[in-house]
């Protein structure tokens, strides 16, 4: 691999990794407050993608929209995906998890419920939206905007990377600087004590789901823009992002970001070095290697401690 090729793939890997990072945050946030792996998060991501598709189909960008219009369409699509993602995650918590929590169900039941909810959601989506994939209508003409280390970056990639970074910074601030963030961290550290200190646990948990859902939904839109929309689109990125969350240290928000970027780069680098068929393998090898030497992930567990 020449140096130029290295930069090419590094940039591509960073773009993909930023997307994995945003999805991984959804897993990590929920794990932080509930110690639950929310396997239905990949479906929140899928529903978000459909949200943007629905919005874009309704407003219909037409051929060659102006630059201002393009920005508007992107913003609308993003808002649509955030709304769909947020509402789905909220509903999921309300319908699938809260009743279990009330009854003090064992952890395993939560896990099974999560998988059940995931099956339900993607089959429902297949029924509602059809089982054929679709693509988002073109919102802008995808051209190269600049080059970095000789690697061209086009609008789709820039949009994807910039949105991911902005969302991650915003989330980091939210968790570390706001009252809600303090609540999230308190519940993550010790839910019982937090409730004794006057934190409304139900509210914090449900808001955590909404935040994770909004991030997941927008990631769904970005992913749909990169690839396409289909009812099974959540599965592979979902598993990969979950692995990324574990690599970084599940429950740890900055860990999820780091893990996502790392897995994205490793996957992309695999393509020229070993070939596409090895990309998932190499991602999982990274996971295993990290867990062998740092069983809690690179940055360690828990929202409360590390953020």
């Amino acid at each position: 691999m020449s140096l130029q090729e290295f930069w090419d793939y590094l940039v591509l890997g960073l773009m993909l990794g930023s997307l994995y990072a945003v999805i991984a945050i959804g897993y990590t946030l929920v794990y932080g407050v509930l110690q639950l792996i929310n396997f239905a998060h990949s479906e929140v991501f899928m529903v978000g993608a459909y949200g943007s598709l629905i919005v874009l189909t309704l407003v219909d960008p037409g051929a060659n929209p102006s630059m201002l219009a393009s920005i508007g369409f992107v913003a609308l699509a993003m808002a649509g995906s955030a709304l769909f993602g947020g509402v789905t995650a909220y509903g999921l918590e309300k319908v699938a998890y809260r009743p279990l929590r009330r009854r003090g169900a064992p952890r395993l039941i939560f896990l099974i419920t999560a998988i059940g909810a995931s099956f339900f959601l993607y089959n429902l989506a297949g029924k509602l939206f059809g089982r054929d994939p679709s693509t988002l209508p073109e919102m802008y003409k995808n051209e190269n905007v600049f080059t970095i280390f000789g690697a061209g970056v086009n609008i789709t990639q820039l949009l994807q990377f910039a949105t991911a970074v902005v969302m991650m910074i915003a989330l980091d601030l939210l968790v570390n600087r706001t009252k809600l963030g303090k609540g999230i961290r308190a519940v993550a550290q010790d839910a019982e004590v937090a409730s004794l200190m006057g934190v409304d646990i139900d509210k914090v948990i449900s808001r955590t789901f909404i935040i994770g859902g909004v991030l997941g939904g927008v990631a769904g839109f970005l992913f749909a823009n990169l690839n396409q929309v289909s009812y099974t689109m959540g599965f592979i990125p979902g598993i990969t992002a979950f692995a990324a969350a574990v690599v970084g240290g599940i429950g740890n928000i900055r860990g999820a970001m780091l893990g996502g970027v790392l897995i994205g780069i490793v996957e992309t680098m695999t393509v020229p070095l070993l070939g596409d068929e090895w990309r998932s393998v190499s991602a999982m090898v990274v996971l295993i290697l990290v867990l062998m030497f740092r069983p809690m992930g690179i940055l360690g567990e828990r929202v409360g401690r590390a953020a």
Partner: protein, 386 residues
């Protein structure tokens, strides 16, 4: 306590046993109805290809019933295998257990054909596939004695792709991708051999279906400096890949096979599908003179133009109907299978007859190209390369 448990268990077991014997008893068929099944992807990611064929079969059955000279009633049975090898045996079993089903159109895809054919062979139920093109399916060692292939296999199509690149396009270096399915791997193997024999250098890669991001793959194609690209796989993966290729600035000639030869490819990939070549052992029903009438009927019935393999499925269904008509509605499954294997039937698209192992006799492969958002018919490969 123990007794109660035994009784609780005994009742469902007894009911189940009754149900089973009920199934086994009625193998002779009943009434005036003969059923023809279609096995293919009727849900899942490749549903468009399945529906193309299902519609063709349904149209044939409807017209046969309407003609009034059958003396019995034909009925359609759908068997959905989602295009997946692991779902196919269940779909096949469902069809086999229905004693009224005398013949099956399909399975549509090579993988499912491979996993379902042992069951069909055991039941003696004939399956005539209009589209499963993996060459190994007709190997006699498989023992797929009920399988008839009504389409030239991938050896023909892969060879056509290779010939087209070496003789018509004049490519020097071809980047060859398969999608790791039975179909894609079979196709790419033959294409590779043909290209190498013609002195074209080949970069061969496998990119599994549902790869989440094709950017890196597209970059790799451009970096390889290949002037030709072959994608052996299906449209729903080719579409995002084609987009990334166009983003990455790939300028060479690109070709894919019948798995991508669907209007959905153009719809999904948009302008990135422009100039892609597509091969198919199928003709374009809306262009060829022999199938114009069929295309009109199809349009009227389903409110859309026939797609890839619609006309072939229609032909195969009609061939089966003709044989059932000859043999009468009470024909045994095995007898119908043997009759079909020996038959020669002139359909709208081509003449169907089979080798001893069930392989199709004939080699016609056709080339299409996406032009201004339409899949335009270019002609027979043998004529194009001259």
């Amino acid at each position: 306590m123990l007794n109660k448990t035994v009784i609780k268990l005994a009742i469902p077991v007894a009911v189940g046993a009754l149900a089973l014997t009920g199934c086994g008893g009625g193998d002779s068929g009943s009434g005036d109805t003969v059923k023809i099944a279609f096995e293919g992807p009727l849900s899942g990611d490749n549903v468009a290809l399945g529906e193309n064929m299902q519609n063709g079969v349904q149209l044939a059955i409807k017209q046969a019933n309407a003609s009034g000279d059958l003396g019995f009633k034909l009925e359609y049975v759908a068997a959905d295998d989602q295009g997946l090898p692991d779902k196919a045996p269940t779909a096949a079993q469902k069809v086999i257990d229905d004693p009224d089903v005398k013949a099956v159109v399909g399975p549509a895809f090579s993988g499912p054909t491979n996993s379902a054919s042992p069951l069909y062979a055991e039941a003696g139920l004939v399956t005539v596939t209009p589209s499963a093109t993996n060459p190994t399916l007709t190997d006699e060692a498989n023992g797929f004695t009920s399988l008839l292939r009504a389409v030239p296999n991938d050896n023909m199509q892969g060879k056509a792709m290779g010939d087209f690149f070496s003789k018509k396009i004049g490519a020097k270096k071809v980047y060859l991708i398969d999608d790791k399915t039975d179909y894609g791997v079979g196709l790419s193997k033959v294409a590779e051999a043909t290209l190498k024999a013609a002195g074209v250098s080949v970069v061969k890669k496998s990119v599994p279906q549902k790869t989440p991001d094709y950017s890196a793959t597209a970059k790799d194609v451009v970096n390889s400096k290949a002037d030709g690209l072959i994608y052996a796989g299906y449209y729903q993966d080719l579409a995002p890949f084609a987009k990334k290729l166009s983003d990455a600035g790939f300028k060479g000639a690109a070709i894919s096979g019948d798995g991508s030869n669907d209007a959905k490819f153009v719809e999904l990939a948009g302008s990135a599908s422009e100039n892609w070549y597509l091969t198919c052992p199928c003709t374009d029903a809306t262009v060829e003179a022999g199938t114009k009438k069929f295309a009109e009927d199809y349009q009227k019935e389903f409110n859309r133009a026939p797609g890839t393999y619609s006309a072939e499925a229609y032909d195969v269904a009609n061939m089966i109907i003709a044989e059932i008509k000859k043999a009468g509605k009470d024909v045994e499954r095995e007898a119908l299978r043997d009759a079909l294997a020996k038959a020669s039937y002139k359909g709208l698209t081509k003449t169907f007859s089979f080798e001893k192992n069930g392989e199709f006799k004939g080699t016609d492969v056709f080339v299409y190209q996406v032009k201004s958002g339409k899949i335009a018919y270019q002609g027979n490969v043998n004529e194009l390369i001259g």
